[in-house]
Symmetry: C2
Subunit: 517 residues, 2 copies
């Protein structure tokens, strides 16, 4: 029987994850790290080709050269999203080589990675640590994976690698353009995806790094988003990704009148509390409501001639328009969500690459996230204490990753613009199914039925005093929604087995996810 301990948020979490001791969540900013950063082995130039040509025949050869063996950790990245062909090729090669019990450590996985289920079944892969969008999440939720999944935020993934909590034996980096030395960029080439920041930590700390490209250029590949000095081998494939699926489908503005209302309320809220002023900054996520929010804000900025100092991406055509129109000095971009974002990153000096290190790493000397004036984020559930869930649905199924969500909660004003119910299931609940973000960091919930402000934010409550905004109490909101939906959401039927641990930004365990059914 797995040992569970109660953490500072009152959640029962595993004391041990896949055989290693885990630290329960201690409260926001309470865990004090005492160690040192991971220390990769020293290498020497005499062991690498003087002409800089590190190209080898294929992935299988590269894995053999890298010393692949049972039980190793292999990392890949989600820059190519649902168009990625590299991770599948890596595990197909590993299977052919007959290795077993690998830990797959992707920055995120997508439906395209469904073939890994066969490798989980056959024993090639022991378990996955990383976001599992779609079928792999479903597989994990059913308790089928031998090991426990571990979900981390983008910043938490950097922290875990940097801190040596996750040791990567072999990192495989899909590179839309690369040179034979291993310099890589994502901003050009037939499978351009923008940037490669999610692979930064892997390149810095993995024992062995393999770059895989379908667009080899002569040295130097500029910009070198990933530095060849971190790369051991380069592999050329015919095609690393399906370009039509690389760009995310999340860049459609919502057409739902309710969601447009939510977005507009969120933008009005930012305006009325005084956030929207010259030199301000904001970040909006990738969903349709967030996009609509950004567009409302843009219109307001145009009208008032207000200029932001920076906006954070996920970039898309709307943020690029703002930059090119002079409505912001900079886009500080963590990933590009459409081809306009990719183009702008190549062309505009004000469109700047960031990484989980600069933006999100909690075990650093500060990060960018806490400097944001406002951030708007989604959630699957929010409870009456403003705690939020972003990974499981109310039925308990683990279907989403954390992304940069936890990291962004540290902004000066964290706003969740969400519908009050989905498919007649309340989104505002008594207690979230899975705790991903502590309520103390979540400032405002904006729904189509009103705006609830966290009682801790007395400043925001004063700021809206006398405003025409529909301010409501979160408990009243919850009751109203329960009335509409015919009561509280049904409790999911959960098993005893903890199938996944949810890490907080500092590497502690904030919650566990139980098997479903």
């Amino acid at each position: 029987m797995m040992k569970l301990v109660e953490n500072a948020a009152g959640r029962l979490v595993p004391a041990e994850i896949n055989g290693e001791a885990a630290t329960p969540f201690q409260g926001v900013g309470k865990h004090v790290p005492t160690g040192r950063k991971a220390a990769p082995p020293l290498r020497a130039c005499q062991d690498y080709p003087a002409d800089g040509d590190k190209v080898v025949a294929d992935i299988k050869t590269a894995l053999v050269n890298a010393g692949l063996r049972d039980g190793m950790t292999i990392s890949t990245h989600h820059h190519l999203r649902n168009g990625d062909l590299v991770a599948n090729a890596v595990f197909a090669a590993a299977a052919e080589l007959g290795v077993e019990d690998l830990r797959w450590f992707p920055s995120a996985s997508f439906p395209v990675h469904e073939p890994q289920i066969a490798h989980l079944e056959s024993g090639v892969i022991h378990h996955i640590e990383g976001s599992m969008n779609g079928p792999l999440g479903d597989y994990c939720s059913r308790g089928e994976m031998r090991g426990m999944a571990v979900l981390r935020s983008h910043g938490g993934r950097y922290q875990a690698i940097q801190d040596g909590e996750v040791h990567i034996d072999i990192a495989v980096i899909a590179a839309p353009t690369a040179d034979p030395f291993g310099n890589c960029t994502g901003d050009r080439g037939p499978t351009a995806c923008g940037l490669l920041g999610f692979a930064l930590a892997d390149s810095q700390y993995a024992d062995h790094v393999i770059a895989v490209t379908d667009n080899l250029v002569p040295f130097p590949c500029v910009p070198w988003q990933i530095q060849g000095n971190h790369v051991d081998q380069v592999v050329v494939m015919d095609c690393i990704g399906d370009a039509s699926k690389i760009v995310s489908g999340t860049t459609q503005i919502t057409r739902s009148p309710d969601r447009l209302l939510i977005a507009e309320l969120a933008a009005r809220f930012c305006d009325e509390v005084g956030i929207v002023q010259d030199g301000f900054s904001f970040q909006a996520g990738a969903g349709g409501t967030s996009l609509a929010f950004a567009i409302f804000l843009r219109d307001l900025m145009r009208e008032r001639r207000i200029k932001a100092r920076f906006v954070r991406g996920g970039s898309n055509q709307y943020l690029v328009d703002m930059l090119e129109e002079g409505l912001t000095d900079y886009i500080l971009d963590g990933q590009t969500f459409d081809l306009e974002g990719v183009r702008s990153m190549r062309e505009n000096p004000g469109h700047v690459n960031t990484s989980p290190f600069t933006s999100y790493n909690w075990h650093g000397k500060g990060n960018f996230a806490s400097m944001l004036d406002a951030v708007v984020l989604g959630a699957t559930e929010v409870d009456v204490n403003f705690n939020a869930n972003v990974v499981t649905h109310s039925d308990g199924k683990l279907l989403h990753g954390i992304g940069g969500w936890q990291n962004c909660l540290f902004s000066r004003c964290t706003i969740l613009p969400i519908p009050s119910f989905r498919d007649r299931i309340p989104v505002i609940v008594d207690e979230v199914t899975t705790l991903c973000g502590p309520g103390e960091l979540i400032d405002v919930i904006v729904t189509e039925r009103g705006i609830a402000i966290n009682p801790l934010r007395k400043d925001l409550i004063s700021a809206v005093h006398g405003s025409s905004l529909p301010i409501v109490g979160i408990r009243e909101l919850k009751e109203e929604v329960e009335g509409i939906c015919g009561g509280k959401p049904a409790r999911p039927e959960l098993g005893e087995k903890v199938v996944a641990a949810i890490k907080w930004v500092d590497g502690t365990v904030i919650d566990g996810v139980r098997a479903v059914g």
Copy 2:
């Protein structure tokens, strides 16, 4: 009595440096590092201001906050060259705080740093590790410094920090532009110097990092050549440097007919052995002869419509012209030698920043230096075995640093265009006073009296067969020069004391420098 051991080059070197065991040079590419990279302590965002504002009152306050105490190592950098005001301010503050026995670890020191002699005398500074140009070198040469100096190449300095051979307690980075979070750039501001690459290792590995600027801009300072996520504190000074002295005086083309002849011969040599062809690459140093070489090469490329893939800087107006004229795809720049270089770095996407990590670090997975088709470098002495000296004069005085010189020797064709004598003292000698570069890496010596090719390079010897170039044997050349100068150079009068150790690119000791007189 200091224990000396004979290294693989036959030089007697100290077995111990300032109380720590040192590894004697084992031969090129022979030393196998077995350790791991230095592992800096973990930090956490809760200990840094959430608003990103790390500005403190002044340098003294910053040093106190950093926990300055006796015996610590403080690093500074030579981006501001002989115009630097920051290093002096740091040690003035340290002296006021009453600390003693500091190790000063500059990337290089200049005549402007002469005030440190008083701190060496008073005991504030114990010794210097780093290039000592001018008065500090003279002071060290006379045996006045309590500890032993250690001279490293730019790449060797990165290696030493990365490998944990030199632990930096406090790094102070002079930043021509910075934001309150600590992001820094050298490419703009009233004291713009180009780039800040020499401080990269310090920012990554020092326990504590202080950025000092006279041009504070709102977050984000873009580009962030030094990342604020590595910076603990920011200090604003009225003026960090004397702009008129930041740009090096080494960008004057030589007017000496002999040196112009040497430069022309070097360029003709590159042409005749087939180096100058589409897609080639070269690096020329900062001296007048090197500049003239680059100009001869440029003219030849223009005439033949040959385009380089990349040229390496130290950049200057001549390289910038080549880039802007389309004679090269890229300048891969390690430091800017004039304001045109600074401008181009800001404006041209093809003018790319490099660092000692990308370019020179021997304990990495390859570096850029070995990919150069040709490099031209200076030397104070060369011997009949093609060994070269770049730090001491024939009188034994230690007056120059190593810079990137040792690192550059790994190019495909290393050419030393040098006068055969200076002030009637032969430059071609029986044995160099100080060994900085092993002869096996030095391919060609070009003098006004002929070109000597290293017998190891049979390919180059064949390539010039039948050419009109004045090819000579190095021993004949030496004898001819001795005839002109009235014999061999006088042996310097050297003391017993080893005042400085010269490190090879891999951290081993290639030679020692004795006190003079």
